[in-house]
């Protein structure tokens, strides 16, 4: 009776364990299916020409995505310039004045901002910048992506700084180091790894955003490097080509998707490396 009971429990235990393993493999399935599917369809489009050439007009074979690559780099660059300094400063403020009323409001705003759908952010950037400037620009796209990136940078900065022990700050202050020097030269360097990781992950996140760019950066079939002109970007190119009726453009879209996915994977791996390498031992 008793031993039967134990046996029953052991079986239950095993089943539970097996179930968990099975389910976690289940989680991997969609990721691998996506990777395999995109690789199968996209890899044939990839070659050196694909990366350095401009798109060709309809009907002509070949052509590349160089304008979209450059555009994506410009947009991500602009977004980083807007969001990183502001995000780090806000994160520092939140971790320094944890309990203040202003900190509470700012934190709430960051959370709300993170929850706003990207299309809405696109519309806002459109009505603020595109309308007032009278044209689609890389600048407006960069602002839209920057707004998406901002709350992530704020959060990771705050979370990383919270983990830094007070004893470190006291060590610096007790040496007579002024407060702002303590933040800039002791606290932030100790948090650099965590903050960098957060920035890399947020870049990976926005690199694939399409909706906020539809009516800001707009897209452009030509190479454009001015931030005051419309530019193309990988997700915009994928969107435009995939919804076109032309077979060659579909291939280009698959190729561009593959490139985008590789970029995101590389950023994620880089984030892991940074976390491991720049780990600060207290």
């Amino acid at each position: 009776m008793n031993s039967g009971n134990v046996l029953f429990r052991l079986v239950k235990d095993r089943l539970f364990g097996a179930g968990i393993i099975l389910l976690s493999f289940g989680m991997l399935v969609p990721l691998f299916l996506i990777l395999i599917y995109i690789t199968r369809n996209g890899i044939s489009a990839i070659n050196w020409e694909f990366l350095v050439r401009l798109p060709k007009p309809v009907g002509e074979m070949g052509g590349g995505i160089s304008n979209a690559l450059v555009g994506t780099v410009i947009l991500v660059g602009l977004a980083s310039i807007f969001s990183i300094p502001l995000g780090i400063a806000t994160g520092v403020f939140l971790s320094e004045y944890r309990k203040g009323r202003l900190a509470y409001v700012v934190r709430l705003c960051a959370e709300v901002l993170q929850g706003i759908p990207s299309i809405v952010i696109g519309i806002i950037a459109y009505s603020w910048i595109v309308i007032s400037m009278g044209k689609f620009t890389a600048l407006s796209g960069g602002v839209a992506l920057g707004i998406m990136m901002l709350p992530v940078v704020v959060r990771t900065t705050e979370e990383t700084l919270k983990l830094i022990p007070d004893s470190l700050r006291e060590a610096s202050l007790a040496l007579g180091v002024p407060y702002y020097q303590t933040i800039v030269r002791v606290i932030l360097p100790a948090a650099l790894g965590g903050i960098t990781t957060g920035i890399l992950l947020s870049i990976a996140r926005i690199a694939g955003e399409t909706a906020p760019l539809l009516f800001t950066a707009f897209g452009n079939p030509f190479m454009e490097t001015s931030i005051l002109k419309p530019v193309n970007s990988l997700p915009l190119l994928i969107f435009n080509y995939a919804t076109s009726p032309y077979q060659e453009w579909h291939t280009l879209a698959w190729g561009a998707s593959f490139v985008l996915i590789v970029m995101v994977l590389v950023l994620n791996v880089l984030a892991k490396v940074v976390t491991a390498r720049w780990k600060v031992k207290f």
């Binding site: 006291e170 060590a171 180091v177 600060v280 031992k281």
Partner: protein, 252 residues
């Protein structure tokens, strides 16, 4: 008695409305080790944190009375200047994790933007590490991160970092509480050697330690200074009953 470096006068400290220190009077002479003892929570840490104005960093903390450092009221001096004259070593070793051993020692100069020549810096590093009895162990690896050291070595690194600034007073808050007996006795020897250069205030829970290294002992109880005098006398014939009870292990 020799000239006094530190004089605490009618001093009180608060956290919000709670009074932690009550009407403390102490005068601490030059080049001596003064031990501060007392049961847990009696305000030892608070007292020494008032000396270099670290207490006021906590919201709601405030003080009354005076603390004179070399005759000057620290509460009428810029806290940054006070802290450069008063070195502090914390209970838990806290070297700067992003800096090498070398940079840890000269952190007080670097972080304060005081520029010195390479030779001068090398000299300060070697001298401070030597005074902290760490030089022989780390002289070949001064450019490694300080956090790779053992706990006892890290604590001595923190002592070297404080000594590098040539402080008038060195405040040690239970510097050996996280260390094994060997590292502890190493630091005790060090404290005795350091008297030559600097006046030391040592918070400790360890009665034997206070007896071994200190010249004077102050006994605090519930925020009051119960007794203050030569260690030898305080440990053998204490005047106050509470001191005697503490020493015989009745409380704390």
């Amino acid at each position: 008695m020799e000239s006094e470096v530190l004089k605490v006068e009618k001093f009180g400290a608060y956290f919000g409305d709670t009074q932690i220190l009550k009407y403390i009077n102490l005068s601490i002479p030059e080049n001596m080790v003064t031990a501060i003892m007392g049961p847990s929570g009696c305000g030892k840490t608070t007292l020494i944190r008032c000396v270099n104005r670290m207490h006021e960093l906590i919201t709601g903390a405030r003080v009354e009375g005076r603390i004179l450092l070399c005759g000057e009221d620290v509460y009428k001096t810029n806290p940054i200047l006070v802290r450069r004259k008063v070195g502090m070593v914390f209970q838990k070793p806290n070297p700067f994790p992003t800096m090498s051993i070398y940079d840890n020692v000269i952190a007080g100069y670097k972080l304060n933007g005081i520029r010195l020549g390479r030779g001068e810096l090398d000299r300060i590093v070697e001298e401070s590490l030597q005074r902290a009895a760490l030089w022989d162990e780390v002289k070949d690896s001064v450019h490694r991160k300080g956090t790779f050291l053992s706990g006892g070595q890290q604590q001595r690194l923190c002592i070297a970092r404080a000594l590098a600034m040539n402080p008038e007073v060195l405040l040690l808050d239970e510097p050996t509480s996280a260390l094994d007996p060997k590292a502890t006795s190493r630091i005790e020897e060090l404290i005795i050697e350091l008297k030559e250069y600097v006046t030391i205030v040592l918070v400790t829970h360890n009665i034997a330690q206070a007896a071994r290294v200190s010249d004077l002992t102050a006994f605090l109880y519930l925020g009051e200074l119960v007794e203050f005098g030569p260690s030898e006398k305080l440990f053998t014939v204490p005047e106050d009953k509470r001191t005697e009870e503490y020493l015989t292990g009745k409380f704390g």
